[in-house]
Subunit: 174 residues, 2 copies
């Protein structure tokens, strides 16, 4: 990637290209476009992290609530974003047997009832077994700690999505 | 509307229902769900306004950048959100003659070059002539004043979208 190419993008092309690096939150890349010129990819990433961390607790929870359940309704009904579909598929969420599906459903439901936002984890960095284990464990956190933990995962997902975009040919995406 | 029905919604149903009251910013209704129970519709509106006003300048500009141009590419290619399509249509943006289209294109382009975000106006509250006049006038503002002015319009649009939702039958939208 040539950062000069990115820095030359209009906000419209920038949002078209990076609009879903944080799931269903085009507001965030649209906001950080204000901070051009970027030094490099890490600089873009740093601005996104800073933006999310500067949000009030409700805003952080809002970011989380824009995420789909893992192995949830959106996956079953084919309404995941392209990025989520790829990530959930890589983590084995599309090939669960009925016992595993039921377990995910129960754990997701318990998690959402407890915290008021969905369980978010960087699926690309975790196996199916890791995901179930962490979902069970994180259920024991208090809400504030879990909010921060989940936001950390959002930034990991964002980082991989950013890398994925800039490592492919930018021009083909516009 | 019975506010108790709204207060009983899961965040998923709340976001499904109110997800686009601020154009392409589901993050915002998803965030203010944290403030339930709401007293009434005005209370929901107040929380949304407060959230937007609490954003840094870049965040406010991010909200603006999630809006389409008036009589722009999205309208021509049929990729407006349902809400924007209705609003632009009501304001006569779908029936411009070629001279009017060209004028809107030129003014929108000049505005975006000057401010780095699109011209946002509550189309439901303005006629075609008002829109052209205000676009020309607001081009003379400085960036900070115009950012605040445009955010004001976002909150007017939000207010009408909210009213539109709660005045129709909530249950049919879920």
């Amino acid at each position: 990637m040539d950062i000069n190419v990115v820095n030359a993008l209009t906000y419209e092309d920038f949002v078209k290209l990076f609009g879903n690096v944080v799931e269903k939150c085009p507001l965030i890349p649209a906001a950080i476009w204000s901070h051009r010129p970027f030094k490099d990819l890490a600089d873009i990433e740093a601005h996104i992290k800073e933006f999310i961390h500067s949000l009030p607790d409700s805003g952080k929870e809002g970011v989380l609530r824009c995420h789909p359940d893992l192995a949830g309704l959106d996956l079953q009904s084919g309404t995941l974003t392209r990025e989520s579909q790829e990530e959930q598929s890589q983590a084995g969420m599309t090939t669960l047997d009925s016992a595993e599906s039921l377990q995910m459903y129960r754990l997701n439901t318990e998690y959402k009832e407890r915290f008021g936002f969905p369980f978010v984890i960087c699926a690309r960095l975790n196996s199916k077994a890791d995901i179930v284990r962490q979902l069970s464990e994180r259920l024991k956190n208090d809400r504030a700690a879990e909010r921060e933990r989940a936001v950390e995962e959002v930034t990991k997902i964002c980082s991989l999505r950013l890398r994925n975009i800039v490592l492919s040919d930018i021009q083909t995406k516009l």
